[in-house]
Symmetry: D2
Subunit: 478 residues, 4 copies
């Protein structure tokens, strides 16, 4: 099934419990903190439904391409194309769009035997997701300080991490907190799990399951909602539309039926399901593509900002622009390479080249701040010369002054203001600040990303290069 | 005279014309966009008045130390101490506090003959400033795109830069725009001038003068005022107090009496007054000290954030903290060195070592983004796990959950939230975004800062090092 | 024809004039400054001859794959595979191996009409190269200071750049200097040309032609030959084998027959032949692949060095190793992507994706120093604890001490020394120093590389991204 | 006593056992691997003897200023001036000149009670050093892999680190290896100790003592001696003079008389003597000053290299030069600041500000590679266009060609070659490679340097800054 955007919005009016501070949000589709974000998500459904290239048929049903388990490189290309179409809609600013977690689950469904006795649950969930066009997000990290639970125990304060507190005939009961359910406010369901390795004895915490956002006992605690503070689309065009939201997930005695349990009482497996299946790779390939869309906005803005002051004629600025385009293409190459050197893994399936995917992930994580900083330099101090807001256009006298004094040979005053306001929303607004923080951590801290790279690296091959070289000569005779 | 904070606030109710967008602000001392910023500035006056070490006596009058023309290293230390005391009050977040432009003028008053026929005007202005404890700011940069006026002329659109449009018996009449009058909303007077070299034929633009903020024909166009959008001091403690504001200065036929004219019809001199006197050096020494105060807040926050999650025990994190403290001390050393190696310049006076001052300025300009980025890394993804706002404490049920689940062995929940909200205001809020932009450009683009360093460098000495070395050997005999 | 290594060595004994300082080298295949380098080059011929996958058949003849004009992606893969096999033989340390310039010429032969009246010459040269398995190098840069010839003219000193000094019936006569003919000592022929744009009036300098290394009037002025100073293969295993040499090419009235002239009296075309054909792209794709081979040696060494002291168990070191492998894979991805997104250009042919190729080139240029620096950090101060040379093994008493005291739980003493000597040859020897310089400039200064990226960037697309976004909203109503 | 250079050279002919590989060096003052280095060290003695400002009088004797225990800031300035004069002689390329370890011992002699029962030994040693103008070096680091001795024990192989193997009535007997006695070949005595913390049970390894270089049982194992491989001063002017050498120190049953023992059987104290006295600070202040001298050579070279090709006229190059001078001044400021904010510690004495000293040490450690890399960029590819060696000037035909073709409007050919050869010896030669490695580790790995900064940082003050800020506001009322 390919649902419409309206249908998706309708689904969000389901009694879910969302807090902004102490304010309980009744309807996320109309509340000024969320309505435009909700629409941006809904628009994705309309877009992919409208173009048959973005879905595939199986047994007479049509499913979004991000549910496609690839058998060929062409299948991988079809996945890529849909990721790209989705990412382009938000200029890469929606990190956890509906194709992210769906790709995790799809990857898992290519090697479900890893799940052992819960294999069927996983496959059923996969079928459910694609059939009902489910927007799933995840909460797979314990609260920050809770990674050393022994400290809590020592001080006799409750460990906050979500865990199974009871098993019943019809399922498990979970309580506690997980972070950081980006997009949850706009999603149908939340995948609960553990991306970071657990200690072997963290058995109740190993629960991996899926719950509807409106499940009894589930509350979402949103961070500050930036959309609400955008005074107009003109002032804050990105904040206005693309605040995907981040929430803590609180569960108080939430019941999860057995058929939605995927891992239970197995601390090792809880982590391995992501990396012993293409789950993590399919999911983070989307992250690469999403960042690439953002790069295109950044490069475009860099160039237009340079043009706005005529700086694009300066050789040193041209070099900076050339470098920007080189960075955009570098990531483009890393993404395309994932298909060229796709892996035949698991047997019978195709997976994006994992090493290139992790390399790109590392590149994004470690490059984003400096890229934005370089854009800041192009913007210069002039970003503060714009009036506080566009209401100057509503006052005839001010409008006249503004149009006279703020125009440049390159651009009319209003165009300049519009351009700078847009740039500011990418480099300086609170929305921008959240992205600067988020890009650094959305795939985990840099050491986590590098450890993924370490894990998948062909160390035996690297060592052989050195060993063979060293074996080819010996100490010289006396 | 050492005025009180209340007196300063009273002076700001003078009919000045300030716009936020199209909103005309009546009283900046009470308006929600400015009132706390105004108080932060006023508090500086009370602080320096309360402690006699921060003023000096001359001819029976007491003046703030930042008006002290130094004869000895001790005098320089007295200046430094007041800059530091002022900077500490805002944790280095007020860049254009009252001691900045005052220091420029004081430095100029140490070599006023540079001003030629306007020498007496300059000295009179200096006397006026210190006697009336004037808070002066400056607007010394043309609008961004206007640095190539020929483009405007070619397209037959008016060059927006401020210039003299008429000379009268009693003064000059100026019209046009200057950027970026940081702090002007809270100041008494604006110094108009040119820090960036003019083309030799830009004679009417060379005007350098001082005008009261409430002068007829003067309007301030403020950028977005962040203070107004801070929902509480708890959520945004820095935004709440320390938004120093930036404004474009528009003059429409504003009259400047001759006695407030310092340069006129001299494009070269317009720039040289800053660097042929200690003006630029005295003023930017304050910038160094101000940044140093910020570094202390940053290092303190880095350490407390690490403690909040127990990460301070991790060797790699400890190394990061060690590096933070090394950076703080590096700048501290560069500042202290300016006194140790103070210059006897101009004759009879003492000036901070200019090369060390510019070196520190360059260091601040090129280091700030990476320092904040490093703080971001210490904060981690956990910064988003805090509730949207502190109102959760006002709802008993939410409060109980919050206190139970958000506490850690290191900190109670509320303390954590308070700490993370503070950190966010330094790394992620729009206020933080403005600082990231501002630190890069407040002394001009990096090439300008480096050109100051280039100008003051002892090239003959450097070359001699190489020349002497090369002269000490020759080509070997055959 | 696929010549043997011995045949190639034989060809080098052709009377060529090579100077090291004032020493005239008679036979580069036996001289201690060049013999191992010569053998390393010769070995490439044997390697590619031995394995049929590295050549293709056309009209009954077999040619090396680097002469293959690609019609399909598979053809591109065949090219890539041979580049990789060649690069692996030298661990990426031979930058101008026989496949570099051959690839330029092959790319040109895919769009020869660009050459106008010299089209046939180019095609004949291409046929000659592949038929005779010619090792061509190039000299395509004017001497460093000569890029502003007007300075020379002003001072009345001769412009040193190579140029046509006379036209005869049977060809042109050239005199002057070109840099930097890397590998020329080991090559058959030199391509003379201009990779950097000429001024429009530099007509005689626009000559683009090919000459045998032993042509009358041609002399090679080698930089210091490092191989000669390697005391043994054990001490300097890389210097020993892989000093590819760099030479200035001096021509004194050298005659070039018309059929070897490709551009003449056309300053614009002299540059465009590289970028209006796949020449520059085919040639620099090899550069990418070559650097990738080096990355594998670097990553292997990094890991083994860490193991040698047990540091590989330290989490922070493991993170560094993970990052190293991420960098290796990033470049791998950028290379693979060039095939996945290959261009149908010129019509009927396939070319590696140019943007990804230039992006990789930029990445290599700007990353190499920091990568080596990171390897330095892994090596630590311990690199100096090794004895001066391996002769300690020849003295029984010293040998016993060495084996006792220098062994570690991880490695015997001799193995440690061997490993550290190898590492030093990549990070600290003069050979290493040359690579640090060379990687920064072998594709031109960084601004040149970035300008290539700028030139090929889809600016209209980038701008459209921004324009469409900005077109989708307008100023709000009052 | 202030000895002459000749006297110092004479002292080096004392039967010391030095190996280069298996070659036993008889006389380091005449051997081609060491003679110029020896002379460079000897010249320091003549220089400081010739100028009375570099020595002070006490009880009728004159001592070098680096033995001066400072009572005033002026005393610190006198120390600084001598360090600077010494460093200038080698352009900062001799890291362990005679003033380095002397300063450690002098600092210790300001708080000798730390040494407990060995206090008198320390003071006697200090008196001996200054009276006899002793050149002391040190070996204070265990062999690289030996920092985890338990690995050795587990595998039943001997731990190589130097330790006491026996106590006799007249002293202790030591055996084993220490690194890295830079300069030992040219020194009189070696200080043996432990700069890196020992495990509490490493008691025999805690020995801290002084032994003459020619003591029975002591052998020096030199790393490769670069001076020997310099073909002439013209080709390698820095290698020729300033290879200070690095050696492993091997002791086989070497006897140390009790009066030269400073720490014994005390693993904690072995480290603390450096940091509980001004020893580490006095010694590393010299490191700062030494690096500063190098910076001046670097900046001078950068400027002259830019002039040699006319690049100094390019704005972007001028900005680079401005930045170079800013870096030089930044370090200059950090050094001067150490005197301005000198510490009254220990009671009655003056010590350079430790925090600024460590900050400068960290700055040098983390900045050197990038500074050299920036110089590489200024040199460009043109560095390889120079002939292999200066013998081209000995052949009339080659000389004529060289002078014609290699000259530029800026410089004659020979001057260019001389300049580029000099630059290469700082950025590319093996000597340069050793400096690139050495600057990273001469004060220990970066984490060690940062831990020094961490240790000395005023954490309570930093925390108070944050605590006071946070205490000044509370959660808002409902």
């Amino acid at each position: 099934m390919l649902k419409t955007g309206s249908e998706h919005l309708e689904q969000l009016r389901d009694g879910r419990v969302v807090y902004i501070g102490s304010e309980r949000i009744d309807d996320v589709t109309t509340h000024p903190a969320f309505r435009n974000g909700a629409r941006s998500m809904a628009a994705i459904y309309d877009m992919k439904r409208a173009d048959p290239q973005y879905s595939y048929e199986e047994n007479g049903e049509r499913f979004s391409n991000y549910f496609l388990r690839a058998r060929t490189k062409d299948d991988l290309v079809r996945r890529l194309n849909l990721h790209r179409a989705i990412a382009d809609m938000s200029y890469g600013l929606l990190g956890r769009s509906p194709d992210h977690v769906s790709s995790f689950v799809t990857g898992m469904a290519m090697n479900p035997s890893v799940f052992g006795k819960f294999e069927k649950n996983l496959m059923k969930y996969y079928e459910h997701m694609r059939r009902d066009d489910v927007y799933g997000v995840y909460a797979v990290i314990p609260p920050q300080a809770a990674r050393n639970p022994e400290f809590y125990v020592k001080q006799n304060i409750p460990v906050p991490t979500l865990r199974v507190v009871r098993e019943d005939d019809d399922g498990v009961v979970i309580s506690g907190m997980k972070m950081l359910a980006t997009g949850a406010v706009f999603a149908n369901e939340i995948w609960i799990g553990n991306l970071i390795p657990l200690a072997p004895n963290q058995l109740p915490e190993s629960i991996t399951c899926a719950i509807p956002v409106n499940a009894k006992g589930v509350t979402l605690w949103s961070r500050k909602a930036f959309e609400r503070h955008a005074s107009s689309e003109f002032e804050s065009p990105l904040t206005w539309r693309f605040d995907e939201t981040d929430s803590m997930v609180m569960c108080e005695e939430a019941k999860v039926p057995w058929e939605r349990v995927f891992v239970h009482m197995d601390a090792i497996l809880a982590r391995e399901i992501y990396i012993k299946t293409p789950g993590h790779c399919y999911g983070n390939h989307q992250s690469n593509v999403r960042f690439h869309a953002k790069m295109q906005l950044i490069v475009g803005l860099a160039s237009k900002i340079a043009q706005a002051s005529g700086a694009n004629e300066v050789p040193a600025v041209r070099e900076v622009l050339g470098r920007f385009s080189a960075l955009e293409a570098a990531l483009g190459g890393m993404i395309a390479g994932q298909i060229q050197d796709a892996e035949d893994w698991p047997e019978g399936w195709k997976t994006f080249n994992r090493r290139y995917m992790y390399a790109a992930l590392n590149w994004c994580t470690e490059s984003h701040s400096a890229i934005i900083d370089s854009l800041r330099e192009l913007c210069g101090g002039g970003i503060f010369q714009m009036p506080a807001d566009v209401t100057v256009m509503h006052d005839p006298k001010l409008k006249a002054m503004f149009e006279t004094y703020w125009q440049t040979p390159q651009l009319p005053a209003l165009e300049r203001m519009k351009l700078y306001k847009l740039a500011w929303d990418l480099i300086g607004s609170e929305f921008a600040g959240r992205h600067l923080q988020y890009e650094k951590f959305y795939a985990g801290a840099s050491f986590i990303v590098r450890n993924h790279n370490w894990r998948e690296a062909p160390w035996a091959h690297y060592h052989k290069v050195v060993d063979d070289l060293m074996a080819s000569y010996d100490i010289p005779d006396k």
